[in-house]
């Protein structure tokens, strides 16, 4: 600002002009913006309040002026951070071996590539393919695959529990279960190549699902009959939200085993699979009874 005035003042000094220059006119004052304090207004509707007690959805959160209240905004940001962190977490390379699983990996070489190149996450790398051919049981009914997917957090947290309950439930229904494998940097369609390689009748991939607000720990399971590279999503049956606040892993294992059994019996999967009579076979796992009201986990405390 007013650089020319400085330059001219310096020149005047040099040329012997003694007296100081008059100061430039002061800049106009910018008025302070008015401060307005809005009281927090709670949602007045009784319906909204009571509904909010039965769901983790964001209902009846009130407002302050035309905006959300601070605690709501902070909670939202915290939940978003949980989701981001879940996506950013990587499955340690030795995690599979430590937990007694056959460790495989897709053609992806690093995490960023995993996020940007879904196509590479759908194929096994050469080493894994060779290992799978050598070490896995072939010709089984069900090939279970545990994988990181988009949330390694979920995989490490409840993956083993789901895998165990699924394996137990399958064996209880007379299905032979293949060598449990664990795939890194895996996308859903990786099950096609794994299942095809071990000649399984059903491939089941259990993997961390795309995190939502505050749920970085959700698992999904995708089952396909006669897995082969080239199968589409129309050939698959899936189950999502396998976590404590959704379907608990123990119950999910039973339901998935019923699904696998149905695939083997009907010799198909996906859109054409007949699901109508499966409820009867589920027994306890069908449980559609009342669940206690769900409460969103508070990640941020704001003094009121």
């Amino acid at each position: 600002m007013a650089r020319t005035r400085e330059l001219v003042a310096e020149l005047r000094e040099r040329l012997g002009g003694a007296a100081p220059q008059p100061p430039p006119a002061p800049l106009p004052r910018v008025p302070e913006p008015p401060v307005r304090v809005f009281p927090k207004r709670h949602e007045g509707s009784r319906y909204a309040r009571e509904t909010a007690a039965h769901t983790t959805a964001l209902l009846g959160i009130g407002q302050v002026g035309t905006r959300y209240a601070t605690d709501v905004v902070l909670q939202f940001q915290a939940e978003l951070a949980v989701a981001h962190e879940a996506v950013a977490t990587e499955l340690p390379e030795d995690w599979a071996a430590k937990n007694g699983l056959l460790g495989l990996r897709s053609r992806v070489t690093h995490h960023r590539e995993f996020l940007l190149r879904p196509d590479l996450g759908r194929r096994l790398d050469d080493l894994s393919l060779a290992r799978l051919k050598m070490e896995a049981k072939h010709g089984v009914d069900v090939q279970p695959i545990l994988a990181d997917g988009l949330s390694a957090v979920a995989c490490m947290q409840s993956g083993l529990e789901l895998l165990a309950s699924f394996t137990r439930a399958c064996e209880a229904r007379g299905l032979t279960v293949g060598t449990p494998v664990c795939a890194r940097y895996a996308r859903v369609w990786l099950e096609d190549e794994i299942g095809q390689t071990v000649k399984a009748r059903v491939a089941a991939i259990l993997l961390g699902e795309r995190p939502g607000l505050g749920t970085g720990d959700g698992l999904s399971a995708y089952l396909v009959y006669e897995p082969a590279v080239g199968k589409t999503d129309g050939d698959r049956n899936m189950m999502s939200n396998i976590h404590a606040r959704g379907t608990p892993p123990a119950v999910a294992g039973d339901r998935l085993a019923v699904l696998a059994r149905a695939m083997v019996d009907q010799k198909r999967s996906g859109v054409s699979l007949e699901l109508g009579h499966l409820v009867a076979e589920l027994g306890d796992a069908a449980s559609r009874h009342h669940r206690a009201p769900q409460v969103r986990e508070r990640l941020v405390e704001v003094p009121t």
Binding site: T4, R5, L7, L15, G17, P24, L27, P28
Partner: protein, 222 residues
């Protein structure tokens, strides 16, 4: 005391929020894009050109009209005429207001002539624009954001000054306006790096002061 600022006097600032299309056309605005006009008169033309350019950096305004009046502020047609009428045009009056604010701020605290002699009879304008707006850049055939030294003085002083400025720093002349101009001053627009423009402006200013102090130079043994 030499090189004291001669502060420009803003003689009038007015706004036409919704100008008649015929008027818009007459003053070089485009009725399809412009609706509002902001007008300013001032008793110094070159600081006003700089301030109009400054306005284009702070608001979505176009300088559609800016012309100096013949023979300068000493021969003005009325008390508000001064030496120049500048017209900003914009799509709405708020943009005009923002532009005029920047313009007034520039005239009040930045761009001005300086007295090159004790009596303040010789005026010199050695102004450095660090980053051009889209008005002067287009007029000078430069790019917005370029640096430019905007140099003005009476014909004799200016001519010597331009030569000194061009030789003092790594600048080139974007445009030189030899006399007579409307106000009978001479002007030059030199461009180069910011540091070069500053050095050129200082050399120009010094030359103007020296010529003013010694008009007949060595030739007449002054």
């Amino acid at each position: 005391m030499i090189l004291e600022p001669l502060p420009p006097r803003i003689l009038s600032v007015r706004r036409i929020p919704n100008a008649d299309p015929a008027l818009l056309l007459a003053y070089g605005a485009d009725p399809a894009r412009h609706r509002s006009l902001g007008l300013v008169t001032c008793d110094q033309d070159d600081p006003t050109y700089v301030a109009l350019d400054e306005a284009t950096k702070f608001a979505h305004v176009d300088v559609v009209f800016a012309k100096s009046f013949y023979a300068g502020a000493g021969h003005a047609s009325g008390p508000l005429s001064g030496e120049i009428l500048g017209v900003l045009a914009a799509a709405d009056p708020d943009e005009i207001d923002a532009g005029l604010k920047a313009l007034v701020r520039c005239l009040e605290s930045d761009a001005c002539f300086y007295g090159a002699d004790e009596a303040k009879k010789t005026a010199v304008f050695p102004h450095v624009i660090s980053s051009l707006g889209h008005y002067l850049s287009a007029a000078a055939g430069l790019k917005p954001g370029d640096s430019m030294a905007y140099l003005v003085a009476p014909p004799m002083e200016a001519t010597i000054g331009f030569d000194m400025a061009l030789k003092a720093a790594d600048v080139r002349a974007a445009k030189i306006f030899p006399p007579p101009t409307e106000t009978n001053f001479s002007a030059a627009w030199l461009t180069g790096s910011l540091a070069a423009c500053e050095a050129a402006a200082v050399a120009f200013c010094e030359a103007v002061v020296r010529v003013a102090a010694n008009p007949k130079g060595d030739v007449w043994g002054g």
